[in-house]
């Protein structure tokens, strides 16, 4: 079973995207006039409109985009969020007549979908979707869109982990609900190129702490590391406190790789490592897609697909590692952030 449209658009991972979604008002506050967050004018050049919430992460993506595209395109970053997001976006599109639109995060994509549903034009400028959860195919809710998925591929996660751990990492265990089965399968297929085995442990759609803890115990017997998906249903406060934490903090210890920096904490050992998208580099990668689209006359072809994020940052809970695992000699040279 695939994710439903509603799940895709509003099922923002609790922690991984929390800061992206929090400033959008949670869809409750009505947006007023378009709010420009930044711009860079290049006279006579095509315009790229960037629709985004105003967060630290989206500003980093904007920085990467602007560094790359300034001088080649006119750029306008507009704050879009809340129920009036569609109107805000419509006003910005009318004002700037973009050749291309960049949409950051799920509510912004939702706003653009409403804009398209309202206007029903024959065609739209191509859109590039970034920072949305579990985007691994061209977005179905909006036309003329491609994107870059936000989940760091397992192959990248394990390549990074192998650079750090002195013990071999051959099999990675993952707890997943049925809606994420096909996502995990695709990740496992890609990971096989690097001889990474994936051990799946299925849980119910609404697992309780006991079920999660049992799944974790089973998995820890059969794998070298645990890959924690950014599935908000599995990362509720209660499941973290009563399932993940007791399960991970009992023997045999296995390193847990998470997709949210907030899950790596010196005070409460959960994630051993966090491997996250590098947001500024994500902006550069998005800019490269804009250049590709410009080369193609701002027309999407059937070959245009969703890309995987190329660049990541790694955070390590050094206290947990020192207590339970052994690192390679130069491992810390391969880490961006150290928590201790």
């Amino acid at each position: 079973m695939a994710l439903t449209r509603r799940e895709l658009l509003i099922g923002i991972p609790l922690l991984g995207l929390a800061s992206c979604s929090s400033n959008t008002g949670g869809g409750l506050t009505r947006a007023t006039a378009p709010q420009e967050l930044g711009s860079s004018i290049a006279a006579g050049k095509p315009t790229v409109l960037v629709a985004m919430p105003d967060t630290k992460q989206t500003r980093e993506v904007w920085t990467g985009l602007k560094d790359e595209l300034s001088g080649h395109f006119s750029l306008f970053a507009v704050k879009v969020g809340g129920e009036g997001g569609g109107d805000t976006l419509a006003a910005a599109i009318a004002a700037h007549r973009p050749a291309c639109i960049v949409l950051m995060n799920n509510p912004t994509v939702f706003a653009y979908a409403r804009y398209q549903a309202t206007t029903r034009l024959a065609s739209y400028p191509p859109a590039i979707v970034v920072m949305t959860s579990f985007l691994d195919r061209r977005p179905a809710a909006i036309s003329d869109a491609i994107g870059i998925s936000y989940e760091v591929p397992l192959i990248t996660v394990v390549t990074n982990l192998r650079r750090l751990m002195s013990s071999p990492v051959e099999r990675v265990g993952v707890i997943r609900r049925m809606p994420l089965h096909s996502f995990v399968e695709r990740q496992a297929t890609l990971a096989r190129r690097e001889q990474i085995g994936v051990v799946e442990q299925a849980v119910s759609l609404e697992p309780n702490a006991a079920e999660l803890k049992y799944a974790l115990r089973e998995l820890k017997q059969r794998c070298d590391a645990i890959w924690v998906l950014n599935d908000d249903r599995l990362l509720s406060e209660r499941l973290i406190a009563e399932g993940w934490l007791p399960g991970l903090n009992e023997r045999p210890y296995k390193p847990a790789i998470v997709g949210a920096a907030s899950l790596v904490s010196a005070g409460q050992p959960f994630g051993t490592f966090a491997v996250l998208p590098d947001h500024t580099a994500l902006g550069v990668q998005t800019a490269n897609r804009v250049f590709d689209l410009a080369d193609a006359g701002f027309r999407l072809s059937d070959d245009d697909e969703v890309d995987l994020p190329l660049s990541t940052t790694t955070t390590v809970d050094l206290a947990q590692v020192r207590e339970r695992f052994a690192l390679r000699r130069d491992a810390l040279e391969q880490v961006d952030h150290i928590v201790e």
Binding site: T63, G64, D67, E68, H72, P153, I155, T156, T159, N160, R162, R163, L190, R193, E194, Q195, D278, T280, A281, V284, N288, F291, D307, L308, L310, S311, D330, L332, E333, Q334, V335, D336
Partner: protein, 234 residues
């Protein structure tokens, strides 16, 4: 033998003055700012900390993105360490050149999964972003003597994912860094060394304390210079 009180006082005063002068000199040296824009096999955080430890009198900043380099340059520096191709693209002149085995240039390789990619036939290549889109494209075209699509990345470790995800047929990098890529992957990676050479890292003086910074870098410990791909500086 103890000194007379007046002499002791003078000696103490001189010691204080000397210490003051030493502190002032150190403070002066601290004002020397070095901006580093190089891609190496460790994170920028680790590179910066290694350089900072080896150059305690300087303020060292290591960046991996061209945009950060240009911002850092605009903020004002005393010296810049990068590839000569980057320096000249910004109108800077290399005053201190890195050498390895007496050579001032090094070889680059094209690395791919399976058979080694043919530079003349490769259609998509991954490369580190040194000079922006046009500049990096020109850099790659010149090295390969062909014009493939160039996928730019901002960090050394981002080259491998391009091959893992089959975005490119080959990645372009200094030959000295190929073992680091091979060590990180279980793919059967093959390399083709290119004939054209690329100049090793060099320093340009861009501020008042530039000569002091160059002097300090010229005496970097060999281990640190090796991290930068260099044996000596001249």
């Amino acid at each position: 033998m103890s000194l007379p009180p007046r002499t002791r006082l003078t000696a103490q005063a001189l010691a204080v003055l000397a210490a003051g002068e030493l502190l002032a000199r150190r403070a002066e040296a601290r004002s020397g700012k070095l901006l580093v824009f190089l891609h190496v096999a460790l994170k920028q955080r680790a590179l910066e900390s290694e350089l900072q430890a080896a150059l305690p009198g300087l303020e060292v900043r290591a960046v991996g993105r061209l945009g950060d380099f240009e911002r850092g340059l605009a903020e004002g520096q005393d010296a810049v360490l990068s590839l000569p191709a980057v320096l000249s693209a910004h109108g800077l002149v290399a005053r201190l050149q890195g050498t390895r085995g007496l050579a001032t240039e090094e070889k680059y390789s094209l690395v791919g999964a399976g058979t080694a990619p043919d530079p003349a036939r490769v259609t998509a290549v991954g490369a580190l972003d040194l000079l922006g889109r046009e500049g990096t494209n020109a850099f790659v075209y010149d090295l390969l003597a062909s014009k493939p699509k160039v996928e730019r990345v901002t960090k050394f470790e981002d080259l491998l994912p391009l091959i893992q995800m089959q975005k490119v047929e080959g990645i372009l990098l200094p030959t000295r860094l190929v073992p680091d890529v091979q060590a990180a992957s279980r793919l059967a990676l093959s390399q083709r060394e290119l004939t054209k050479l690329v100049k090793l890292p060099a320093l340009a003086s861009v501020g008042a304390a530039g000569p002091d910074v160059l002097g300090a870098v010229a005496h970097l410990p060999v281990k640190v210079s090796h991290t930068l791909g260099v044996d000596e500086w001249r």
